[in-house]
């Protein structure tokens, strides 16, 4: 790999890490607007993270090393994921090391660790959260994988840059299967990012919370890292979505000018995506936890259907 592509890789990673909290802020802002509330500052997430880093960490007596290492591992996994997903450019040397399946694997890794950490303290809440998280995960993961499979069947590859290349820089073709995949993906990413209708990030109501229940015991820098990680997760998912369904503007290998143009394109797309997410969250209501399988099951079936459609209509 050339030094240039290596730089691209680092640049993209840096942008992801840097912009992730901004996206969260933006989404919250939009949601506040849509709900006629006075919006919090766009930079609030940064402030929160900084504040948390300042604090002294409090750790339960019954915590094991797993509990304390988990935030770093989750954060690391998310960074890797960010390095795989082509948001700006498609020549990502690291993407060679981990393709779409590995990406899902990385998400799973993060999920498992955070769930284990939640169980580590041994409170009712932690276990409850872990259970629900894994429960959501076991349907969401396959669905996501199926979506990626659909894309990779179209492009004949499982490495994301290649997929994006195939989708973005070929002559324009209509892929009916991608419609199904798109719907499925949206549903999955809602679930995976602890969004309404599966989870509600802005509440600590025992009966409904999933993600919050798991991180209940965390404080200070650990919590900060976890928040940042989940912001990164949202960012990654959005980037995956954009890369698969709106791949326009992503720079091809070694195309510096395009790279210059890619950044604003990305930000624009993300902004739109944020608004869309806010819309969905505002318009839909939180589901009971046992409605979740139906929701995700639908997503899974849609994704499978997408594959079948792809094979039927030849993509």
């Amino acid at each position: 790999m050339t030094i240039a592509s290596f730089l691209t890789q680092l640049l993209e990673l840096a942008i992801a890490v840097a912009l992730a909290p901004l996206l969260v802020g933006w989404v919250n802002m939009c949601r506040a607007w849509l709900q006629n509330k006075s919006a919090p500052s766009l930079l609030l997430p940064y402030r929160t993270i900084r504040k948390l880093f300042m604090k002294d960490a409090v750790v339960a007596q019954s915590a094991s090393p797993i509990f304390r290492t988990t935030p770093y591992i989750v954060f690391g996994a998310m960074c890797c994921a960010a390095a795989i997903v082509p948001s700006l450019a498609t020549d990502l040397p690291f993407a060679q090391a981990a393709d779409a399946i590995a990406l899902v694997g990385l998400f799973a890794l993060a999920r498992v660790f955070i769930a284990l950490a939640a169980m580590d303290i041994g409170t009712a809440f932690g276990a409850l959260g872990a259970r629900r998280e894994m429960f959501v995960g076991f349907l969401a993961e396959p669905a996501l994988l199926m979506v990626l499979f659909t894309a990779s069947l179209i492009s004949g590859s499982t490495s994301l840059p290649t997929i994006v290349d195939a989708l973005a820089h070929r002559e324009l073709a209509i892929y009916p299967s991608l419609a199904f995949a798109g719907v499925a993906f949206t549903m999955v990413s809602l679930a995976e990012n602890a969004r309404i209708p599966i989870d509600n990030p802005s509440t600590h109501l025992e009966l409904t919370m999933i993600h919050e229940a798991m991180v209940l015991e965390y404080s200070a820098r650990h919590l900060a890292l976890l928040e940042w990680a989940s912001a990164l997760k949202l960012f990654n998912y959005s980037c995956i979505g954009l890369a698969l369904f709106f791949p326009f503007g992503i720079a091809a290998a070694g195309d510096w000018l395009a790279l210059i143009g890619a950044a604003p394109a990305l930000i624009f797309k993300l902004a739109i995506g944020g608004v869309a997410l806010a819309f969905i969250e505002t318009l839909s209501a939180k589901l009971r936890i046992f409605r979740a399988p139906e929701f995700l099951g639908t997503a899974f079936l849609l994704a499978v259907l997408a594959m079948l459609v792809n094979l039927l209509l030849g993509g």
């Binding site: 880093f53 002294d56 409090v58 750790v59 339960a60 007596q61 019954s62 915590a63 094991s64 797993i66 591992i73 954060f75 690391g76 960074c79 890797c80 690291f94 060679q96 090391a97 393709d99 399946i101 590995a102 694997g105 799973a108 890794l109 999920r111 498992v112 769930a115 169980m119 580590d120 303290i121 041994g122 409170t123 932690g126 276990a127 409850l128 872990a130 259970r131 894994m134 429960f135 995960g137 076991f138 349907l139 993961e141 396959p142 994988l145 199926m146 499979f149 990779s152 069947l153 499982t158 490495s159 015991e217 820098r221 046992f290 399988p293 899974f300 994704a303 499978v304 079948l308 039927l312």
Partner: protein
């Protein structure tokens, strides 16, 4: 390894090793009741032998086949043995896994209520020897003898604690199904032999079956080996027998013995037969996926840690068999390269499962010793009491959950890649069908993560659910060695896939006359089955990057902020009274799955009502296949027996009438 080349007379060495194992076992009979003799001397020795076997097998992986004729066996059919890549691979698997298990056993076995240690040692080593002989046997008779010896030895090991009725029942069920399966295998060989002049595998290779015979052979094999592998619906013995056995034995049975069934399937389907029909593959694929889903769903709701692992074995076998079916599919359509990749995935997963499942079963053994508890509902918080076991178990857990960069992920990655190649198949029906199978496999894998989080979290994390867990002790020296070896195996297999695949490749060359790495655009670092830009994976890089980020973050955080930490009691949400019993029980953790898959379970459940004097909650999850298949069969047999019993009703004149009418009937028949 090809540089070194196979040791001269590798096969002789293997045979010697088998003999050595038997001899060691017999040595145990000399002083059957002396535990120290057995555990300090014989088990370590057996472990060394296992290590030797591993090395030999590894060296002869890409050696040309060697064969020998033993001075034993039937007159026209002396025992033939053969060492080719396929058997070398499985020898490697057996040796590597049993090395760890033997080391562990050296520290594990105590003087038990049932079988004396010397006898256990004998049965144990005969079991190992039998498994090794199964994979080197080169004629039907030797194979069957080894196969059934394996079943017998393991049966006696399962019934070590024979005073407990459930264990006796489990052993009986196991041996019964094993025996029926063996008869099926035997008949399969009868078909393959096709009236040739003897029963050597060479004869079978040279026979060309015609008409329905190949199909008959394939399905007899599927039934026979499926019964041993725990394929639906013949899996029922597995969750009974594995928990019943002492943990090292469960480890061997689940980690190694099941693989001999896979070996048999491969040997019969790809080596002894020349034709493979595409719909065989479809059948195996469907069976595999269903088995995998069934296994993992049931694992999710288990409350006994060994049963949970047993069901997870069912799941892994299902995945392996699904891959096997896919291989047949590709092979039948002449896509040998793809078949090779799939087969690699199959073998790789078999190897992985041998490592992590063995590891986890041994872990349950240590936990069992430390706490005398098998029920997940009574464990918890052991990571504080037994850190060695806990951390090594974590490796196994992550591996079996299929997470990068450990080994479970690699094989599943390969398998999914293989699934993605199906569009190149000519038949649209299969094209429609395979994605569904892929979806099923993915679902099973995702659920496996759920199961393993449940397992690890409930056993090792949280707070001890019982007071006496406070006295749990960590594993002993030998046990640690065994566990470390297996965990190291999981990691190595995880981060060095390219080398492993190169090592496995001779098997492809032998069975499919094709190679999985020939077309690959990868290098030592990068695993790329077809070419790098189609799909590639490099766990080493992933691992490095993750570690780098983690370390970096830690450094930065501690550098720019501070590392101050206070410990405090967990947040009680305003309920001052918090007892460990308030944590999620195993049932609780499995409850969502139970809710979702309600219709697939036979649940008997007793919920306490508010009027109960002594409220207790109780749920038992039964295996539906009992009532669907096995009980009906049993009842039918009973009924038939009762009818037949009427013959024998005591009156001599009736008996005379029988003879009389037999005579008349025959006389009538001859004229």
């Amino acid at each position: 390894m090809s540089a070194i080349g196979p040791p001269v007379g590798a096969l002789e060495l293997v045979v010697t090793i088998v003999a050595a194992w038997v001899a060691l076992g017999a040595l145990g009979l000399v002083r059957p009741h002396s535990l120290r003799f057995v555990s300090r001397l014989i088990f370590p020795a057996g472990a060394c032998v296992a290590l030797l076997l591993t090395v030999i097998a590894f060296l002869s992986l890409d050696a040309p086949p060697q064969s020998l004729v033993m001075p034993l066996g039937l007159p026209d059919l002396p025992f033939h043995v053969r060492l080719d890549p396929l058997s070398a691979f499985f020898l490697l698997l057996i040796g590597a896994a049993s090395f760890g298990v033997s080391l562990f056993s050296a520290g594990y076995f105590r003087a038990s209520e049932g079988t004396p240690p010397g006898l256990i040692c004998f049965q144990y080593h005969v079991f190992l020897a039998a498994m090794a002989s199964v994979v080197v046997a080169d004629d039907a008779y030797a194979f069957m003898v080894a196969w059934e010896a394996m079943a017998l030895a393991s049966y006696f090991l399962v019934t070590t604690e024979h005073r407990i009725p459930e264990i006796r029942r489990a052993g009986f069920l196991y041996l019964l199904i094993a025996h029926i399966g063996a008869i099926a295998i035997l008949l399969c060989f009868g078909v393959l032999q096709a009236g040739g002049d003897d029963y050597t595998f060479d004869t079978m290779r040279n026979m060309t079956l015609i008409g329905a015979w190949p199909t008959a052979a394939y399905f007899l094999a599927l039934v026979g080996f499926g019964a041993k592998a725990g394929l639906l619906p013949l899996h029922v013995w597995l969750p009974e027998a594995h928990p019943a056995a002492p943990s090292p034995v469960s480890a061997l049975m689940s980690g190694v013995m099941l693989k001999t069934a896979i070996y048999g399937l491969l040997r019969v389907t790809f080596d002894l037969m020349h034709v493979q029909l595409w719909w065989w593959g479809v059948v195996a694929l469907a069976l595999g996926v269903v088995t995998a889903l069934f296994g993992v769903i049931y694992a999710a709701v288990q409350t006994d840690m060994k049963r949970l692992l047993a069901y997870s074995s069912v799941e892994n076998i299902g995945i392996i068999v699904a891959g096997f079916g896919l291989t047949i599919l590709f092979r039948a359509y002449g896509k040998n390269l793809l078949a090779a990749i799939t087969l690699t995935a199959v073998l790789y997963h078999a190897l992985n499962h041998a490592f992590f499942k063995t590891l986890l079963f041994l872990v349950t053994g240590s936990v069992l010793h430390a706490t005398k508890e098998r029920s997940l509902g009574k464990l918890g918080g052991l990571i504080h009491r037994m850190p060695w076991v806990a951390w090594l178990a974590l490796v196994g857990t992550l591996a079996i959950a299929g997470l990068p960069p450990l080994n479970g992920f690699v094989s599943e990655w390969l398998l999914l890649q293989a699934f993605l190649f199906t569009p190149s198949l000519p038949q649209s029906f299969v094209n429609m069908l395979v994605p569904l199978a892929a979806a099923g496999v993915v679902l099973a894998v995702a659920l496996a993560a759920y199961v393993m989080v449940k397992f690890y979290g409930v056993v090792f994390l949280g707070r001890p659910r019982e007071a006496h867990l406070a006295y749990a002790h960590d594993a002993g020296r030998f046990e640690r060695f065994g566990l470390v070896w297996l965990a190291a195996g999981c990691i190595a297999l995880g981060i060095l896939p390219v080398n492993v695949i190169q090592a496995i490749d001779p098997v492809n060359a032998m069975l499919l006359h094709s190679s999985a790495i020939s077309a690959g655009g990868g290098n030592w670092l990068l695993l790329a089955p077809i070419n790098a830009d189609r799909s590639s994976y490099s766990p080493l890089i992933v691992l490095v990057v993750i570690i780098a980020t983690v370390v970096l973050t830690m450094r930065i955080v501690h550098r720019f902020y501070h590392g101050r930490i206070r410990t405090a009691p967990p947040w009680d949400c305003g309920f001052p009274l918090q007892t460990p019993r308030m944590q999620d029980s195993a049932e609780g953790f499995g409850q969502p799955i139970r809710q979702v898959f309600e219709p697939f379970f036979r649940i008997e459940r007793h919920l306490p009502t508010s009027f109960d004097a002594a409220p207790r909650y109780f749920v038992r999850i039964g295996d539906p296949f009992w009532s669907w298949i096995f009980l009906p069969i049993a009842h039918a047999a009973e009924f038939a027996a009762r009818i037949v019993g009427l013959i024998q009703q005591g009156r001599i004149s009736v008996y005379l009438t029988y003879s009389f009418f037999t005579l008349l009937a025959l006389l009538f028949f001859v004229r």
